[in-house]
Symmetry: C2
């Protein structure tokens, strides 16, 4: 329950269509793609930086949790109002403030969808490289909060590399301006990157200066099918050792392929146990040079076939078929996005198979192999407590394996609430304490997205 005085003050400032308190209205802001449900006590829809400032000042005064939210597409529970409080939906801060093709920059408010940025950039020959699978529906504010990536990160990097500056409101209601409007700049500490990936725990982003990249003049793709996992993982390692990086290098394991085959019996070669979808972009000559090299890198006794796809649709056909099937197959999936160094992928994927066999768990693994970023999905029945317990123990061992291989627990989804129990596997307590102290500087009363990112203090 919100303090009565706070409610009164907010009602005075915001019209009812921008301040929800009815639980029915608030319910849509209770969940994200982690599928957990924590209804907020209220939802606010600011339109301006100044309104964000007013809201933060009030929440700080009354010590009420404020949970910034993009479009709720996150999978790690980062936007869940676990402790109630106010969901701060940025979805109506929708202005593209400027499009500046000469300087390859778009300045936009946080509610602008990733796709809208792409649409604004495209006529000028540009795009904004972060490409989460939610790009059509997710906002740049959310992309920035998680340092979102996607298939093209292998060549273009993630959000971190494509934001020049931010405006943001800290937990004390201070408006800060970070970074610059140029591609180079070293004045003051890099608060821009500190905020990128901080999942709304340090400040509410109210404006972003996005760095655009030139659209490639041509794109081509290869699909490669392997009858064993190790030939496939070796091909990944070989491809990543080539000088020109592919613009995407995606992997589907046997579990993924079996799912697809169950629904679409003729889509895949019969013996395929592992598949790669490889995209290259650039000039025509780049592409033909790369394709020759990649086809060569795929060659092994385990290769069934590797060939150039006719078009982008053909390249991504299997991957696109997979997503809806995954949602159907199991009442619950534990969805992770661990990353390991590319050279350890053979070891990691073999270990993953060993662990899922040992714990007798059905799992489906796929993802951004070029970055070593594998989406591990453990498919479980949440009503089967024994299976749930096995899955938890398996997950714990998977994370241990990732860390042993010098990997990281999350490549793009973030920690949110889903992974915070595991953060100490990766970050030592000294470094974590320093991060907590930084949080304290930005948000001394811990009102901004409390409880996220950090493991519960013992």
């Amino acid at each position: 329950m919100l303090p009565a005085n706070l409610l009164t003050e907010l009602q005075r400032t915001f019209p009812p269509d921008r301040f929800y308190t009815d639980p029915v209205d608030c319910y849509s802001y209770a969940y994200d793609n982690s599928r957990k449900i924590f209804p907020p006590d209220a939802v606010l829809f600011p339109l301006t930086t100044e309104e964000v400032r007013q809201i933060v000042l009030l929440c700080n005064q009354y010590h009420v949790p404020l949970i910034p939210r993009g479009r709720g597409t996150g999978t790690a529970g980062g936007s869940l109002p676990e402790f109630g409080g106010i969901a701060l939906s940025m979805e109506r801060m929708l202005n593209i403030i400027s499009i500046d093709p000469a300087n390859r920059i778009i300045v936009a408010e946080p509610g602008v969808l990733n796709q809208t940025v792409q649409d604004a950039a495209k006529p000028h020959g540009f795009f904004w490289p972060p490409d989460p699978s939610s790009a059509q529906f997710s906002s740049i504010g959310g992309n920035i909060a998680t340092s979102a990536g996607g298939p093209h990160a292998v060549k273009y990097g993630t959000t971190r590399e494509h934001v020049l500056g931010l405006k943001a409101v800290t937990g004390t209601g201070d408006l800060i301006t970070t970074g610059c409007y140029t591609t180079k700049g070293v004045v003051g500490y890099d608060l821009t990157r500190l905020l990128i990936g901080s999942e709304g725990t340090l400040a509410v982003i109210t404006e972003a200066t996005l760095k655009l990249s030139a659209l490639p003049s041509a794109v081509a793709g290869i699909t490669a099918n392997f009858n064993d996992l190790s030939s496939c993982t070796q091909a990944i390692v070989n491809i990543m050792a080539l000088p020109q990086l592919p613009s995407a290098l995606e992997f589907l394991d046997a579990g993924s392929l079996n799912l697809i085959r169950g629904r679409y019996p003729n889509m895949l070669p019969v013996d395929t146990h592992a598949m790669l979808m490889i995209e290259v972009d650039g000039f025509d000559q780049d592409i033909s040079t790369s394709i020759t090299a990649i086809l060569e890198a795929c060659r092994s006794d385990g290769l069934i076939s590797a060939q150039q796809a006719n078009d982008t649709a053909a390249l991504w056909q299997a991957r696109k078929a997979l997503s809806p099937l995954l949602k159907e197959i199991a009442p619950k999936k534990i969805n992770e996005d661990v990353v390991v160094p590319v050279s350890t992928l053979p070891q990691f994927l073999a270990g993953l198979r060993r662990l899922s066999d040992h714990y007798q768990l059905h799992n489906v693994n796929f993802g951004h192999a070029g970055n070593g970023n594998i989406h591990v999905n453990l498919l479980i029945n949440p009503d089967d407590t024994e299976e749930v317990s096995r899955a938890e123990r398996c997950l714990d061992e998977i994370f241990d394996l990732v860390i042993k291989l010098r990997g990281t627990l999350s490549g793009e989804h973030g920690i949110g609430s889903e992974k915070r129990a595991f953060v100490t596997k990766e970050i030592d307590h000294v470094t974590l304490d320093l991060m907590r102290n930084i949080k304290q500087v930005f948000d001394p009363n811990n009102i901004l997205n409390p409880g996220k990112v950090f493991p519960a203090t013992p």
Copy 2:
């Protein structure tokens, strides 16, 4: 003077050849390329992270300034021991810890020279993109402390984009480990980029995980000469609007060309008043496509000639000739590295000319035009107080112009001590206070490089 107990403890721990206290020995650590002189009370040469920790703990206990130092090639005074204390020379932490071509990574200690990293990467087909002009002599620790860039930043970015993780010791002697060993990772706050460019004020870097890039398969260059500035700046804008970024786009103004012409009468076309050196890299086909497009982008009434250079030496001939001449010409040069949005370069360079005319100052301007990063050099006689005063007023107006054009005061040199008086022109006091509070978290007793980066508190 250092406290006697501190001296005793350090003498007990470090042999004399790694702990200088004789002023004669210390003098070599009193200056950098800003040419100011502040002798430290002592110099320490740690060999390990643990030794760095011991030193920081002692300095913190005795509240003695500790000034981390790479190879002293910085131009902004960032490594000057202004308040005495101990210069912490990292020059003997020289180990390359691992070379991992399969994952495109080198892990190195901070004293390793940039050039040594390049030499280690090259046999594997890789390089580390940060390329300050000091690359042969400067250390990666120093490069990271300033987020160093160079001519190739226009295509490859600066140090910020090429470091995956760090080990560092904060001002309280805490060893922190930041980032990860993979190209993607979003676990915890991005302390890696917070430390990059922080000029040794937050922590002492003791190990860096460097992300390598593939060496281009071919490189070519164009030199273009213009008989007026505005044709040249328009060509810069045109080139930067092309889809493929040049790998370098360097500019020399009339002042620079006159200097060169004075010494080498036949190196340049007679009427040249502005010159571009443009490098492109990639595959052969990329290059020929780019060269055609760039030659077209240079075309204007003011173009004297634009042609492909025979080789890299020919491309950079004028630029290389300039550096020693600059050192000779004036008793003092005020050397800035401001950045403006590329599209505003015509306006900026015209303004710069207007200001130098108004203040009757000789100036020479050149630099990384593709990033809008111009090295402005005001040439003055430091004994002429009236001229010095004019230069100071001119500089102030130059910075105002830069900010008005949405630029930044430093693209790669950093703030150090040289520019701190101007920081408030760019960063508002709220944001600056937040940075001060972050400094306080890392270094509560303000022992690490005190006084740098921030303007003096009023």
